[in-house]
């Protein structure tokens, strides 16, 4: 009993086996996860992955074909959007063009029967928080994109909803403004203690803003975890490739007296005996090794034999902050190496054969 109560105190929302079918198309396939109070969760994935469908299901614009959605412990099946106490910021903001900024923000309070005086007071408070107090009597079309975004956010937060939904919040902004607003929105939602679910296809945005990220693919939830977890311990090739940059090396596993080796043509990865990843593999298993470009060291000569590889430089690109090498391995695959070791790289050029090395700690193995 206690456990259940404690759960409710922490869990803002729960999806249990939610599926959505359009004819024979599975827009959502058995999606389950929990959302904790006060956290900022981003649903990330390519288009068609189900993230937007999930968002609209949470909002109540779509009814799931199967499964349940619970908000604050209450089953939302059959509950229309207006009764869900959820705030939402739309992709193109959906501000009411015939109302002033103050009236727009006050609208959710108006629908809840709050009188004008109180409404204006609370709306002004919200405007202060988003830094637009001087725009109260303006109309949406008189404001810039970034300002409209903040008004939309204020409207979503003013009535202290259980959950706030953000639908591709940065999509309508130009690149320069994005970085700035990512941080600002994160601050604002934290300041008011909101529980946020955001949807985006931009992995950098997800990494910047979220406490946890849920990665979607083809209607299924691939993996959910903190940015750190997803980057360091991806559980599938898709996740490894989607978050940050990854080199995916496919090879065969072999058990040795000292541990497990995964190898391919011209490269190998050695895991010590006590490494849990190694223990999970048996001999002749096919395995995929994830190597982050910044974790590879390049050598002109004198590369070690274990946890190492060789290849030929195809491109050497200077990016100011680092070098990027595109290296062709013996089996024809190309991997990326990013290095800030200017001394080591400077002398290399395209066409050179080089050696590469990495630490077993930096290895992630994904079972075939």
């Amino acid at each position: 009993m206690n456990a259940v109560l404690q759960n409710d105190a922490v869990t803002a929302m729960k999806l249990e086996g939610v599926s959505k079918l359009y004819g024979s198309v599975k827009a959502l396939d058995n999606v389950s996860f929990e959302l904790r109070k006060g956290e900022f969760l981003t649903m990330l994935g390519p288009s068609g992955s189900g993230k937007t469908t999930s968002l609209r299901a949470i909002a109540g614009f779509i009814q799931p074909t199967a499964g349940r959605l619970l908000i604050e412990g209450r089953d939302m099946t059959g509950v229309p959007p207006q009764k869900r106490n959820i705030g939402m910021m739309f992709q193109d903001y959906a501000l009411f063009p015939h109302m002033t900024v103050l009236e727009n923000i006050g609208y959710p309070l108006e629908t809840r029967g709050i009188k004008r005086g109180e409404r204006e007071k609370r709306s002004m408070e919200m405007l202060e928080i988003v830094g637009l107090a001087h725009c109260a009597t303006r109309y949406p079309k008189e404001m810039s994109g970034g300002q409209q975004q903040r008004v939309a956010l204020a409207r979503a937060l003013v009535f202290k909803p259980d959950i706030v939904l953000l639908d591709e919040p940065m999509a309508a902004l130009d690149k320069k403004l994005r970085g700035q607003m990512q941080i600002e929105i994160m601050h604002i939602t934290r300041q008011v203690g909101a529980t946020v679910v955001s949807v985006t296809h931009d992995q950098e945005e997800a990494l910047v803003m979220s406490d946890r990220i849920a990665i979607f693919k083809d209607g299924r939830l691939e993996q959910i975890g903190s940015p750190h977890e997803l980057y360091q311990q991806p559980r599938s090739e898709f996740v490894a490739d989607f978050i940050g940059e990854a080199n995916l090396l496919h090879g065969k596993a072999r058990v040795t007296p000292d541990g497990v080796v995964v190898e391919g043509d011209g490269w190998n990865v050695s895991l010590p005996k006590d490494d849990p990843q190694g223990q999970a593999l048996t001999a002749t298993d096919k395995a995929c090794v994830v190597l982050r470009p910044e974790r590879i060291r390049a050598f002109a000569a004198g590369a070690p034999t274990g946890n190492a590889g060789e290849g030929v430089i195809e491109d050497k690109i200077y990016l100011g902050v680092e070098y990027r090498l595109v290296v062709r391995m013996n089996d024809g695959n190309k991997i990326n190496v990013r290095s800030r070791d200017v001394a080591a790289i400077a002398g290399m050029k395209a066409g050179d054969s080089i050696g590469m090395a990495w630490a077993s700690d930096d290895i992630v193995i994904i079972g075939a």
Partner: protein, 296 residues
């Protein structure tokens, strides 16, 4: 740059950044303007002249003091107003369905709207005669369903006239509404609902206000057209409830009182001009209040 002899007689006209070179504007526009001045403006001016014999306003005095004339003008106003309200009210859901009901609905509803639009007014009024007469379809239907026992008099009544007018005005009323509604983003209604509003509240606070320019345009168009109706009231109404147009025709055809007829025509022209002016003003006001595509 080619300097052409054709440019010689033209007023200084700056070339708009269009597409193509064309003989200068003056010669292109002159025929149409001349034609209309001769065969359109002049007849209208002639009417004004005839209505003021030697500058005397006796015909206008007659109109505004004789009960018969005042009644007819009043009746025209009353009928036009009622018809406008009914037509716009019926047009609103129809236009909404066209704007937001999906592609199939749009196609079907457009066809249903345009077919009568393109059948002449005369023929449509004719078919209403057939429908409304005592042995007509409507009475047959009412008797068959047991709602009445004897045929009800529908033809040669104001009611019959109004039904006919609504039928003819409906396409004119739907189109401006549709044009405006098409531009209203339904996301705004979604936003309204997530803000906690019921459908009804959202409609009253968001959708309807945004559709107002269309309602205004539709109403004024319908009213303007209704004022001048001749065929429909002539065929479907009784002489007792005549409208201005019929009275004008009567003065010219039967009474041969051209002066009075002309004065009545001028009154109708002025009323129409006022209605059209209101339309322009209303549209300008509503548009400047920033009613555009929702959100951005």
């Amino acid at each position: 740059m080619n300097v052409s002899a054709q440019d010689g007689g033209a007023p200084a006209s700056a070339r708009a950044p269009w597409p193509f070179r064309v003989p200068s504007a003056f010669w292109l526009i002159a025929p149409a303007v001349l034609f209309l001045v001769l065969f359109f403006v002049f007849p209208l001016l002639k009417l004004v002249a005839i209505s003021l014999p030697d500058g005397s306003v006796e015909y206008y005095e007659q109109i505004f003091t004789t009960p018969v004339f005042l009644r007819v003008i009043g009746e025209t106003f009353r009928v036009s107003l009622i018809v406008t309200v009914v037509t716009v009210a019926v047009a609103y859901p129809y236009a909404y369905a066209m704007a937001h009901g999906g592609r199939a609905a749009l196609l079907i509803l457009t066809v249903a709207l345009l077919i009568p639009f393109w059948v002449s007014l005369l023929l449509r009024s004719f078919s209403w005669i057939v429908l409304l007469q005592n042995s007509g379809l409507i009475n047959d239907f009412l008797i068959a369903t047991g709602l009445i026992e004897k045929p009800v008099r529908l033809i040669r009544t104001p009611f019959g006239v109004m039904i006919g007018m609504v039928h003819i005005l409906l396409p004119y009323a739907v189109l401006p509404l549709y044009t405006v509604m098409k531009k209203i983003d339904l996301r705004l209604m979604e936003a309204s609902s997530i803000c906690g509003a019921s459908w009804f509240k959202g409609f009253m606070r968001i959708y309807f206000p945004l559709s107002m320019p269309g309602v205004a345009a539709s109403a004024i168009l319908a009213f303007t057209l209704a004022l001048g109706f001749y065929i429909t009231p002539a065929l479907l109404g009784s002489p007792r409830d005549m409208m201005i147009a019929q009275m004008i025709a009567g003065q010219f055809n039967e009474q041969l009182n051209f002066g009075l007829g002309a004065a009545l025509a001028v009154v109708l022209m002025v009323l129409t001009a006022i209605a059209v002016g209101l339309f322009g003003a209303a549209r300008a006001v509503l548009q400047s209040r920033g009613r555009s595509k929702g959100g951005v």
